[in-house]
């Protein structure tokens, strides 16, 4: 009956809560060992990057400092309208200045101000001198530049006794550091215009959107479409008008990509391409994550769309993986490289002694086909099944070595007359001429290589002024095939001869050249037009490389050890290890001409 009891109970219970809150929550001192589940959410979405802070002009700054401050403010991407940078300009100059026209990159820049006294001066000129590195187009296409950059900034002193820039070069000038800080090189992936399960890489430089992070920057650029050099050769599976809302990480292993509702209008046969495009463009950011597409926060078409990068392995833009089967020639037969070294002859006509063939190329089929130059009168193709015979696909003399694309076509170039070239493409034994622009037609081709994704070609051209490497884009319209957008990757240099090229992966080309300093093997980034930023391949001075083959992370070289001495039994096929920076022997005793499928 007494209300005392519940009150006592209340106090006791409250003390119990207190005791539980303080006493029991101690650190455990025992337990069984278990694996740590790491939260990788931060790694992907919050990769650190450093931004320039745009500061307003300082009071009574010297003309040099004003230009420097302006340059720093230009390099800041916080404000897409560059309002802070414009405060360094006079009103007139601010109106005329068009920062988005072009971005030029320089290195080792130095500002030189006026030497004379500025005490009563009304104007001054500050010059920026440096070496040109590159220009970045509005689409993010990187074009290397050479020479020097010398730009003058004319400053005037305004009514408030402050120096302001009155005249300046159009576009933006960024130092190499600024570029590295504010831009990232991304490999965007687009499905080719011809329907096929595959992707084509478009390597561009994109400014980081502050506050959005790298994944969002990538996906936004992806939605903007391919850059000009391959536009027409590739499509995008994202429906027009699709916009990205945001990218978030949920539960530590799901990357949620939220689009606007336009994404739901994708046609059913393009969904796979769209998903592949997304995961491959995210690339290493999506590794280990499940990617989920949402539409304004709702599941895609009400049922959700979840997938992983390995689900779309067949869309790999490199087409072949690092584990691709390699081949080589020995004793006039094509051999298949074994895991432990050495090799076995392949089955079929390519291992028969009676027909001599050179320059073999292996197709990307499950049951690979071999194309080679036989008899000096054309490109012949044979299967790797026992009893298969050589069939002539392309007729012609002095053809370049054949090259397969992933559509099952064999390509070869044929010299016609004096310094003219024709290009053939053969499918199922039917050869067809390929339309080429004068840049390719007027010259002699020493080598012709179609990239594995079938969208680009790399050729060694001899136009009489030395050898160059040129890159073109393949456009397929119906059954019409045309090569266009040709540009030079490796310029001709004095007394340097380019001996061989081989596609390494979707964006990189191996170039073997020989100059006065000896042989040089370099990897070139095809879309940037410059050597890839990786340690140069170290060559063995004793062994001359005669042929090369490339696959992702792999470089094979056929070497000739006994220089000058002819005859079999001297060649060796070697593989290069980038980590150890050394060559290891893969097959010897006259092994030569290493080949990877396609490329």
């Amino acid at each position: 009956m007494s209300p005392r009891f519940p009150r006592t109970a209340a106090t006791a219970a409250a003390f119990a809560v207190l005791a539980a809150g303080t006493g029991c929550a101690t650190v455990p001192t025992s337990g069984s060992p278990h694996l740590v589940e790491e939260d990788r959410a931060r790694d992907t979405l919050s990769q650190q990057y450093v931004r320039m802070i745009a500061e307003p002009p300082k009071k009574d700054a010297s003309p040099e400092d004003v230009v420097k401050g302006f340059q720093a403010a230009t390099a800041s991407f916080d404000d897409p309208r560059l309002t802070m940078a414009r405060r360094y300009l006079t009103a007139d100059a601010s109106q005329k200045w068009k920062p988005w026209k072009q971005t030029r990159v320089y290195d080792e820049g130095k500002f030189s101000g006026p030497i004379r006294s500025l005490k009563d001066a009304k104007d001054a000129t500050v010059t920026l001198k440096g070496t040109a590195v590159a220009t970045i187009g509005s689409e993010g296409n990187y074009t290397p530049a050479t020479g020097i950059v010398e730009e003058a900034f004319r400053l005037v002193r305004g009514d408030d006794e402050q120096w302001r820039i009155a005249q300046l070069p159009d576009g933006r000038l960024l130092s190499r550091h600024d570029l590295e800080r504010a831009y990232r090189r991304v490999d965007l992936c687009f499905p080719p215009a011809t329907p096929v399960n595959g992707l084509v890489v478009d390597r561009v430089w994109v400014p980081i959107i502050p506050g959005r992070g790298l994944p969002e920057t990538r996906v936004r650029r992806l939605l903007a479409g391919p850059s000009e050099s391959i536009r027409g050769a590739v499509a995008t599976a994202f429906p027009g008008g699709t916009e990205l809302n945001r990218i978030t990480v949920e539960g530590g292993d799901t990357l949620v990509v939220d689009f606007t509702s336009a994404v739901e209008s994708v046609s059913d046969n393009e969904i796979d391409a769209m998903k592949a495009q997304l995961v491959w463009s995210l690339g290493e950011l999506a590794t280990g994550f499940t990617v989920e597409i949402r539409v304004n926060g709702e599941p895609f078409r009400g049922i959700g769309l979840r997938f992983k990068l390995p689900d779309y392995a067949q869309f790999d833009p490199n087409v072949v993986t690092a584990q691709a089967q390699a081949y080589f020639m020995r004793d006039g037969k094509l051999h298949r490289v074994k895991d432990k070294g050495g090799g076995d002859p392949v089955l079929g006509a390519a291992s028969e002694q009676d027909v001599q063939f050179t320059a073999p190329a292996v197709s990307g089929d499950y049951q690979p086909r071999i194309a080679a130059l036989v008899n000096g009168d054309g490109v012949y193709v044979t299967g790797t099944a026992p009893g298969s015979k050589w069939q002539r696909w392309i007729a012609g003399r002095d053809l370049t070595g054949p090259s397969w694309d992933r559509y099952g076509s064999v390509w070869a170039a044929e010299p016609v007359g004096e310094g003219k070239t024709r290009v053939w493409q053969a499918t199922q034994g039917q050869a067809r001429r390929v339309g080429i622009p004068p840049a390719l037609a007027n010259g002699r081709m020493n080598a012709f290589r179609v990239s594995r994704d079938g969208t680009r070609v790399a050729v060694i051209m001899d136009e009489g002024r030395g050898t160059t490497v040129k890159i073109g884009t393949i456009f397929r319209i119906g059954r019409q095939v045309r090569i266009d957008n040709v540009r030079t990757l490796v310029e001709a240099q004095d007394r340097q001869k380019i001996k061989a090229i081989a596609w390494r992966d979707a964006a990189d080309l191996l170039v073997l050249s020989k100059g006065k300093g000896g042989q040089d093997l370099a990897t070139w980034s095809v879309m940037e037009g410059k050597p890839a930023e990786e340690p140069a391949i170290k060559l063995d001075a004793q062994a001359e490389i005669v042929s090369i083959a490339g696959a992702p992370d792999h470089v094979l070289a056929g070497t000739d050890i006994d220089r000058g001495e002819s005859g079999p039994g001297h060649g060796e096929v070697r593989t290069y290890s980038g980590d150890k920076r050394e060559w290891t022997m893969l097959a010897k005793d006259g092994a030569t001409v290493p080949v990877y499928p396609l490329g």
């Binding site: 009956m1 209300p3 519940p6 009150r7 650190q48 450093v50 931004r51 130092s175 550091h177 506050g211």
Partner: protein, 583 residues
Amino acid sequence: MPASAARSRRRTPGQIARGVRRRARRAAGRLRRSWRRSLQFRVVTSTLVLSMAVVVVLGVFLMQSITASVLQGAVQSAREEARANVTTAIGYLTPPSPDLTDALPDGDAEGEAGDLVGEAVDALGDRSGGRYDIVTFNESKVGQARATGAIDWSSVPDALRAKVQRSEEGVLVEQNTKLRYLGDRQRVSGIVIGARVNGTYEIYHLFPLGEVETTLLAVQRIVIGAGAALVLLLAGIASLVTRQVVTPVRLARQAAERLAAGRLEERLKVRGEDDLARLAASFNEMASNLALKIHQLEELSQVQRQFVSDVSHELRTPLTTVRMAADLLYESREDFDPAAARSAELMQNQLERFESMLADLLEISRHDAGAATLDLEPADMRDVVLRAIGDSEALAERQSTRFELRLPSEPCVAEVDSRRVERILRNLLFNAIEHGEGRDIVVTLGADRDAVAVAVRDHGVGLKPGEEMMVFDRFWRADPSRARTIGGTGLGLAISREDAMLHGGWLQAWGSPGEGSQFRLSLPRAAGAPLRGSPLPLVPPEVEMRRSWRGHGTPVLAPAIGVIAEVGIGVRETSDAGGFDVP
């Protein structure tokens, strides 16, 4: 119709406010009633309130200590990180060697310095791994400001910057603030730790404490939830416990109420042997004892009543014979000598009185036995009053008393047993004549919608205080020494009261020494209807008027004025004299 419906639906704010206030008042009233009446409610409420207070105090204490320790941990690690970073930054920002700087062709080291700060921030950003952001400033060199990630560099408070610029090199300064980010990232509370290094470089570390905040919020939610659950649990327990106690008590109360209502057979169930069971047992014992006693008393009073009734009956037969003999003697009294004649007269008188007394005794014993029945019929009360007056006129003349009648002009019909009402009035009139000392007797008849009333006012000696109730006792006498001049039996008023009660009416007396007395009979107009009030005042209006001479006018007068013209004039005169006005 729709218009009126709309009007009825659309209520003015005033109406709504009134409605709310009314409802709130009603709820408060209900609450107060529950508080007063329910022990359980009281116990549960006080448990709830007290335990809530205790839980709140403990929760606040708990929360404070948890917050302090969690926050301290986070801030401590932030400081350590900032300290390590500052050391690293000094290493990066110090130019490699002065010789080298001099060796630069034009001494323009700033291009390189830009590199240095970039490298330093890069290194620190790598170390942070996204857990916090770095912002650097340099007031004296252009283009040295950097920020990592998506932090909005204006998150660094100006006050902190000023403090850092003034402080010693390498000394950490911290401030709590709200961190803002570019893009659509949420603002988050955090701590900024800054230091000045290598001259004019300022390095700020912006640590978001969002996770700590989340943790603390979660803990807070848990504490609140647990506290609320605890309080509710305690209230539930209290309710359960009190119910165990209150239920038997409530049963006992209900039983007692029934007992009080006269159902003496009511008993409590006895369960167990605890205090409550013993209470029930003794309650039952009390009830049975009470029932026994009451039964005994009832029997006793039954016997007495029977005895009185029997005696009256038994006396009647011999009395008839005695009466016949006495009549004979009385008629031939002129033949007797004067003394014998006088005796015969006396005997005749006393016999008459004896007879009437016997009749009264029988009547009252009929009432006692509950055998009295009403013979109801609608009657005009004016006729009833006039008949009673007519019966009393002879006696009044003898006492040289005059009646003053105040009857309403229109008939006032009531459903009454007119024989009994007449008897009541007769009794009242005889009583008034007897005690009126020859002064006028005022008989007033009043009526309203539900009731009729007759007041009989005399101006005799009056009643002493406390005698108003005793007048209705049997055989009561105001002054035992006074002789009964008109030979009342002493039962008249008692019977009258029984009759009035039989009608569902009232019979009340008022009296004051020297002012006379007034008896008022109030009856409902319809038989069986409950009587709520009387159309006439019990206290005569002129007396009331005198009492409230100065002060408040009593509304009691108002009906009297309407009914009684003469008194109304009197009142008016008095009111004139008293100086207040009755409209």
